[in-house]
Symmetry: C4
Subunit: 214 residues, 4 copies
């Protein structure tokens, strides 16, 4: 996938490393965080022979948590997709980039917590929506700063990476935190609307994708 | 395993990527979902010195959950096997394929939830059986649509892939959702029988395997 | 690590595959099962300002669960090590081998359950010790049957694999289930002694290792 | 990333293996342990329409657990980074190195337990701080012993590895357990201060990084 680092660590000066284990570790965190989300989905304890209406009602009661599951699933999925593309262009890593990536993984690993809060208390508690959105703004900015760092350290990039490409990637990376930031203000007025606004992220992504293709 | 994407992202037009990280991420989700199933297996709290009969009874009480564990283990295992073979033939990916794969991962990551419901409430609650089967129908259709998408985008496929092979793969992918779909109707009459019918999936798989060999 | 399967699926007759994804999936299951064990370790709910003696007592109360954590950690570790070596020699896989491997993963993924039972009820309940040991006997036999299958399908093995090597591997694979089997009978008399006997597995492994070296 | 082991197991005498699966398994354990930490973050059960002050208070009550989450996240992150670099220099493995690595993974997998104790009972219970620090001292020593073992088995190292490099790596590996050891004594006097002292680890790491660069 990327140029591998030389076998002997003495041959490079700036202590650059290949990105294999960094992406393997990151893939692990993405995959685990996205799969742990399911642990929040549980039925209340019912009698095994509860009437159908009661059982169906319990299933329906899981719906808000299922919605927050879906939201976080796609958010983590988009972060993963962005990460995937990023490390298609970033083919070497140094300590600082590895550290910024670790901070990004911190936010990814945290996502199940605000997701659980969201599924349990939104939209009744606007603060739950704000905390969720605020966290995603921070995560999005960390993701963007990975790009900014790599932009200033061209030795980390695949040869042939153009400035136009980098601008495109940074714009796309900023779309998510921008929409989440706006939604914090919307949540002051209407928490439910704020949550609906998040689906714009998918739309904007598709739009950027289309535009870039031409 | 597959042809790797070129090192420089500027050399390909259609923004195709290698499948390494997509399969690594997917393997992670499969492995985590399949291993999280065990968290549903737990004994009720007993006294440490409870009589043998009580302790043995508690162990026996885990049996329905163990059965649903087994069912979901093999279902996820079959999805994984199908995915494995799929990405032996699909050797490049684009955004759309990655998105369909993400939706498939969504269903795989969800499986522990209907499994827990099944283990706790089936076969007393036919609805639990129907929800489980319904979810698998959807998952199976998403898996099939990955094939259909790849079929119409031959540039994603390994050179030398024949239409006969693709037809075989799609047929096999459809076997699971078809049986789960039928079982929803069976569950209206007899939920326990519906659950037994699922084991047909293994039989059909083996049969298709044998037929194709000749 | 191993010879990769050809890029085009049409060039091989017997539908052999490389082992990369099988081992990646298996490594995932091993790593997750071994890490989920920690979820059983928890303190009872105490007041934040509980007296030191109470707090220290609670920590001490975790000890039996810590011991069962350690036992299962090393058991899974040994299974992983055996799997690692196995797929150093088995360099190609077919459907049947993948299925036997899936059954092995089933037992590996199950291990946190008997571990929890063991940590909570052993050695007071000999049945807990027997269930644990019985599970490991089954897991060990499945692991051995992977070897037996590969032995009869030489096309799956690395070229140059000798019968003497295979015999060695099978003997080593049998050491674990043999000791666990004996411990079931010991547990009828003394459950604590049966648990201690499990540490023999490490000793036998080191002994076989030494013997083979000469 | 490293020289791969030969395909045929008969060609090497000392039974050396490549490090691919060892690092893949370890990356899995690192990624899972770091992501499981989030399961400790949960709100107490509140009414959905609880007053804002109550809800905000509950969020604030998560803060001590969030701090222990952050501490363990960076500790595991540093262990991972050290492991990453270690296996950039160690390119082959034997049974003993694999065993020491398994013991390191044992401590990594355990970390969520002392983290939970810390988040729940620190700094009120100095013993919680001491147990956490004591565990990290042990983990750090195991990590260091990996280096010491590799130093005495040069055939495991990449060609061109210098003694100066090894000394640097060992010094860096020792920084973490040294600071945790001192913090145990600080905790006898002031548990809160002991926890703050842990952030020195990051500072020392950066300092060693800078010094080595020159």
């Amino acid at each position: 996938m990327a140029e591998t680092a030389p076998a002997s660590p003495t041959t490079h000066r700036a202590r650059l490393y290949g990105t294999e284990r960094l992406t393997a570790f990151s893939d692990g965190v993405f995959a685990i965080a996205i799969t742990l989300l399911v642990l929040e989905l549980r039925l209340p304890e019912l009698a095994t022979d509860a009437p159908l209406a009661v059982f169906a009602g319990a299933l329906q009661g899981v719906l808000p948590r299922l919605i927050s599951f879906l939201i976080s699933f796609f958010v983590i999925g988009l972060f993963w997709q962005g990460h995937h593309r990023m490390f298609h262009v970033i083919v070497r890593t140094d300590s600082a980039l590895a550290f910024i990536n670790l901070v990004l993984m911190l936010f990814v690993a945290l996502i199940p917590f605000p997701t659980a809060v969201l599924g349990r208390y939104a939209p009744s508690q606007p603060l739950a929506v704000m905390v969720y959105a605020g966290m995603m703004v921070l995560a999005g900015l960390v993701s963007t700063s990975l790009w900014l760092y790599a932009m200033r350290h061209r030795e980390l990039l695949a040869s042939g990476t153009t400035s136009r490409q980098l601008t495109h990637f940074i714009l796309r990376a900023l779309a998510m935190p921008a929409i989440f930031l706006v939604s914090i203000f919307i949540a002051c007025v209407n928490a439910g609307l704020a949550m609906w606004s998040w689906w714009l992220i998918l739309a904007v992504r598709v739009a950027i994708e289309r535009l870039w293709r031409d």
